[in-house]
């Protein structure tokens, strides 16, 4: 199968010569979900921001659908990669429908007027995230959980092969987390989207991820399956935990993770 996204020895950071994370190399295939984990400030967001082009890469290579990122125009890139960030937006007097419909930007004409296809795609995306009933509400007046659904719907109707999600579940209650993650899982498995997401809640990782990238000490600490990565000794190192507490953590984590996996997969 074709790789959708590749990074080769990618250095990311805010300043030349001072990379936050060094030499990130990964391959992402269609239908696959990669979870990036690591402590606060480890540089998960920095990696994702670099891939979406919000930050300039310091060195290395990013290949999107087998083409170097530099060769792609903004419009072409917009049809390949969509994202949900942790940044909160404050649009004034915009309905949820309008916010989600912004995802159709790369497909509409000079004046951005939605055609029938576009409207269909927006309605579909809103239904998929379970937000059809709040479509007409003012975006600034809904809850954080609802907002996250709308932002995901926006990314979905942008209709890209690659989805980049920065902590899509932060600040949400457990039911909202389950809802959002089920949708993401469905996108990968049913629509063959390639997903890369950063996540703090390790208990959801086994249900979601095919591969896990653990970031620690300015580099990729390990890449592997959730089974390989989410082990006591790795957690102790990555999160700077006390000796011995990792194994206690591991035991409980996997039990909870199994329950959550059942809940996510039954949807």
């Amino acid at each position: 199968m074709d790789k959708k996204l590749r990074t080769l020895a990618l250095d990311v950071g805010y300043q030349k010569g001072r990379p936050v994370v060094n030499r990130v190399s990964m391959d992402l295939y269609p239908g696959e979900i990669i979870a990036i984990i690591g402590g606060n400030g480890a540089g998960k967001s920095t990696v994702l921001k670099t891939i979406t082009g919000q930050l300039e890469k310091l060195s290395g290579d990013i290949r999107i659908c087998n083409r170097r990122e530099e060769e792609l125009t903004e419009e072409a890139l917009a049809k390949m990669v969509s994202m949900v960030t942790t940044e909160r937006i404050h649009p004034e007097l915009m309905s949820c429908y309008e916010v989600a419909a912004m995802g159709r930007y790369p497909y509409t004409g000079r004046l951005g007027i939605l055609g029938e296809d576009d409207k269909g795609a927006v309605t579909d995306a809103l239904r998929m995230v379970g937000a059809s009933d709040i479509a007409t509400e003012d975006f600034s007046k809904i809850s954080d959980g609802q907002r996250q659904r709308i932002m995901l719907a926006r990314a979905i109707c942008q209709d890209t092969d690659i989805l980049i999600l920065d902590e899509p579940t932060s600040f949400l209650d457990v039911q909202f987390k389950l809802d959002i993650l089920s949708v993401i899982k469905k996108l990968a498995k049913e629509r063959k989207k390639a997903v890369i997401m950063s996540i703090h809640e390790l208990e959801f990782v086994p249900a979601m991820a095919d591969k896990v990238i653990g970031i620690f000490n300015r580099q990729v600490y390990q890449i592997g399956t959730p089974r390989e990565i989410l082990r006591g000794e790795n957690l102790e190192i990555m999160y700077g935990m006390e000796k011995g507490s990792g194994s206690i953590m591991e035991e409980g984590l996997w039990q909870y993770a199994h329950s959550l996996e059942r809940l996510i997969c039954q949807k």
């Binding site: 979406t52 082009g53 917009a78 940044e87 649009p91 007097l93 912004m102 930007y105 790369p106």
Partner: protein, 338 residues
Amino acid sequence: MNSEKKKTAYLFGALTVLLALCFFFSLKVGSTDVTLKELFEILLFQDDAMYGKIILSIRLPRVIAAMVLGGALSVSGYLLQIFFGNPIAGPYVLGISSGAKLFVALCMVVLVGQQIHISSWFMVAAAFAGSLLSMAVVMALAGKVKNMALLVVCGVMIGYICSAVTEFVITFASDSNIVNLHNWSNGSFSGISWEHVRISVFIVTITLAVTFFMSKPMGAYRLGEAYARNMGVNIKNLRRILILLSSILSATVTAFAGPISFVGIAVPHMMRGVMKTNTPILMIPACFLGGAVITLLCDCVARSAFAPTELSISAVTAVFLAPVVIYMLLTRRSNVHG
């Protein structure tokens, strides 16, 4: 969705009718009152006997200028609001109009002093240069001051400095050519000629057309830089274009009518309330119509409230529109956009 479209169409219809009514009303009132019948005869037959001359060569250009420039000013403010992602922005409160004023005054005083005739185009160019310069100062400050209300305070201070220097320059240049510079520097539509009107209409029409075709990326920019970029917007270009368009519009206004206060900040806010939307493709025409109506009415008040003494247009717009701005500042949630 369909009923919403209908409502929008009605609102635009109502605004257009209102503007037409204000247009005829403004032509009618003034130091010499004419009846509606006389007014139509004058307009239709270009009859310049009796009051005709007053209407055709003084009042008509003034009324058209107030409409076109008022609308332009309001759109200029709307562009700045999109740029800053915040409705508390406008060319006057950010000191941009005053920067334009200072440049125009300097050019006039220096060049008129040397007996050089200044063309209207040159005035617009000078105002544009002044706008861009104060814009650059505001942008440099915006990099440091993240709070919009604080940035506005800085803008008002820049405005005061520019106005003070302008006053200074004008006071010491007592050439007879510069006598009416004093009126202009406080904002006034009096003495606007047909040449000014032609140039204004030309510049404003082209700029508005370009603005209208920028409404798609402007719409996306409302979701913030990161998302706009993800949708394929070239952020750097968009920001440059927004600044250029906004500066051209406010510079044209300032070159011919001086700095006009609060129209740029308050009218877009009022139009958002009327239209119940912030979609640029609707807001750009709505701001233009709204700005035209309000500026026209304020100009009527300016020339007829204490006739034959004329008030400066900024004094009138300030009385009516500053409360709107205060209301806006008070009712906004303080956590929005820092």
